[in-house]
């Protein structure tokens, strides 16, 4: 069985995000980028499925500029067999990405599309769901456990009430949540091997997709700075202060 895993290049989660002074976006110059942490979990799951003998080929796919090659090299170091780089320097919104992934998924004949539940840059949480809709195949989101058995997969999801287990027919889209697994630490020999693995570079046009901008970013603003607190001496004082603010 073949698995397709999407990997996005995002500002590293350790970076202290700064908003551009004109409010047009966040500062990305000189900022560290890395693979979206949820996509790392998806990659890890794909590799574990292969280690269990459920998966025979892992293909990683990304959409983005030249620098995205680094993200693909990481995916290859994780264990992807080959990678597809859909080159696009401009902004790519979830629907465009979903159309491109759907086209690749179909062309590759992959049985499973694994993706992060969201990318930590825009937190859109849309792409996986739209891929499933576009292809009219099953989807299971926010997976905390994935089991593949022949032509079906069992997916456990964490929901408010507890754990829910879904069974989906393959091919299917599975978006992964934080607690699915802990991605492995990359090994130097695997990083070296990744350099020799093939990356196919194509354009959005090659998969029949045009860049669409369904939404427009009007303004990006930093969260308001925390207001200075007030020190209270007694519990009574605290209660009356909260009452005065209408909070209790």
């Amino acid at each position: 069985m073949k698995v397709l895993v999407s990997v996005k290049r995002v500002v590293d989660y350790n970076v202290r995000i700064q908003v551009k002074s004109d409010g047009s976006g966040v500062v990305t110059d000189g900022v560290k980028f890395s693979m979206n942490p949820f996509d790392e979990i998806a990659m890890e799951e794909a590799v574990r499925l292969r280690e269990k003998g459920k998966v025979t080929e892992i293909v990683a796919v990304t959409i983005g500029g030249a620098k995205n090659e680094e993200t693909l090299r990481s995916a290859l170091a994780f264990g992807a067999d080959r990678a597809i780089h859909i080159k696009e320097e401009g902004e790519v919104q979830p629907l465009t990405a979903a159309k491109a992934f759907a086209a690749v998924l179909k062309k590759e004949g992959a049985q499973l599309f694994l993706c992060g539940k969201q990318a930590i840059d825009d937190d859109a949480n849309q792409t996986g769901q739209m891929v499933a809709s576009l292809l009219d195949i099953a989807q299971a989101t926010f997976a905390s456990k994935v089991e593949v058995d022949g032509s079906k997969a069992q997916i456990t999801r964490e929901i408010d009430a507890g754990l829910e287990t879904l069974e989906v027919d393959l091919p299917a889209v599975v978006s992964v949540d934080l607690r699915l697994n802990e991605p492995r630490y990359l090994k130097l020999p695997d990083i070296m091997k990744a350099k020799k693995k093939p990356i196919e570079t194509i354009g959005l046009g090659d998969v029949g997709v045009a860049v669409e901008a369904g939404t427009k970013t009007v303004k990006v603003a930093p969260p308001p700075a925390r207001a200075k607190g007030v020190m209270v001496k007694t519990v009574d004082e605290l209660v009356s202060a909260l009452k005065a603010k209408g909070l209790v």
Partner: protein
């Protein structure tokens, strides 16, 4: 001229920084406190294949250069592991290079995969109490016997000997009186650290307690012929090949420690409120930290220049020494400045700065002292008369 890391080098840096997040500052503090070798960290680096970075691929390595090794060692130190982390892997990553360069095929096959795989643990025994920095005057003797040599002598400062089963050993095979040049008549061996013949005595030192340093008393240790690396009498020349890259690595480690200290201090200065504002709002706090950052980055350029020259096979003695000198001095200043930034808390172990300050004194003084570097630069660059 290109002053930036290649994407591959950047990837090594990022991957190592991430890898090292498994080992918290508290882990290193605990090991410093208990004086126990960081086996978990060491094993993780073995399993990640990182020890073989600069080893040829035929022997289980990845065949990368000193630049990549420097990037890795710097990231290890910078992660908060300091010299405790860096020194725990320094010897397998680097010090066994004489075997790579001068060992015969049989020796390489026998030795290197076991070092890369962490099965054999090696210490590097050169320094002696009665010779100090004047290595050609070491007193340890290896006398020719049937099928090998009989070794007697004393070594000092030998790091990791407590946890090693092998040693790289420099000893005199031809007495000083019988050689034309002082640099001749020394030989290098890679042999068993046989505790029946070698007494290993721990030195109580200022910092880096997790990685031991020791006195070695060698008494009638028989070393077989096949354990000699390179030709007899050529040991000093062999070691010379390693001097510059070793300076590069140690300098890179120092810079890593300096960065760790000032970024910790900057974070504290943003958060610590005194007189109604963050202490970091005061220029008296900001400027010394900014100055230290600038100094460290300038030193790093020199270190990386030396590394790049070395990997291109070019002469890099001046650059490697200059880089080591600047890194040692500036990293020390950075740790000291960081400590002052934290005020009283800088002196408390749980803030990790005092540990870095204690550790940064190692790359400041070893493997070569700032004095000897300035001697070298005065003589080689400024053409002043040799002073010693």
């Amino acid at each position: 001229m290109d002053f930036s890391l290649t994407p591959d080098q950047q990837n090594i840096r990022d991957t190592i920084l991430k890898h090292c997040q498994q080992f918290s500052p508290e882990y290193w503090l605990q090991h410093d406190h208990d004086g126990v070798f960081p086996q978990e960290f060491f094993r993780s680096m073995v399993e990640g294949g990182w020890l073989g970075m600069a080893m040829p691929s035929e022997y289980g390595g990845s065949g990368l250069g000193i630049t990549e090794a420097a990037v890795m060692m710097q990231a290890v130190a910078e992660s908060g592991a300091g010299m405790s982390g860096a020194s725990s892997i320094h010897i397998p990553v680097f010090s066994v290079q004489p075997v790579v360069l001068f060992g015969n095929e049989q020796q390489k096959k026998r030795i290197l995969p076991r070092v890369v795989g962490g099965e054999d643990r090696v210490c590097f025994a050169v320094t002696e109490p009665n010779a100090g920095l004047n290595t050609t005057e070491i007193k340890t003797r290896a006398e020719k016997r049937e099928g090998g040599y009989l070794v007697n002598g004393e070594k000092i400062w030998i790091s990791t000997a407590q946890v090693s089963n092998k040693m790289l050993l420099l000893a005199r095979t031809t007495p000083l009186e019988q050689v034309k040049k002082k640099t001749e008549g020394l030989s290098l061996f890679y042999t068993d650290l046989d505790r029946a013949k070698v007494e290993v005595r721990l030195i109580h030192k200022m910092g880096r307690h997790a990685v031991d340093s020791n006195m070695l008393f060698i008494n009638d240790l028989f070393v077989p012929e096949e354990d000699r690396i390179g030709e007899e009498g050529q040991g000093f020349k062999i070691l010379l090949h390693g001097l510059n890259p070793e300076r590069v690595l140690v300098a890179a480690e120092a810079i890593g420690i300096g960065r760790a200290a000032i970024f910790r201090a900057a974070r504290y200065a943003r958060e610590r409120i005194v007189f109604g504002r963050p202490i970091g709002m005061n220029q008296g706090i900001q400027h010394p930290l900014a100055k230290c950052w600038a100094q460290l980055e300038a030193a790093n350029l020199m270190v990386m220049k030396a590394a790049t020259l070395f990997d291109k096979g070019q002469e890099c003695g001046v650059e490697a020494n200059t880089g080591k000198y600047l890194a040692g001095e500036f990293a020390f200043e950075a740790c000291h400045t960081a400590m002052l930034t934290l005020g009283g808390m800088g002196y408390a172990q749980e803030y990790h700065i005092e540990r870095l300050l204690r550790e940064v004194l190692i790359p400041r003084t070893a493997p070569v002292s700032p004095h000897m570097i300035l001697n070298f630069l005065a003589e080689k660059v400024l053409e002043l008369p040799k002073s010693y």
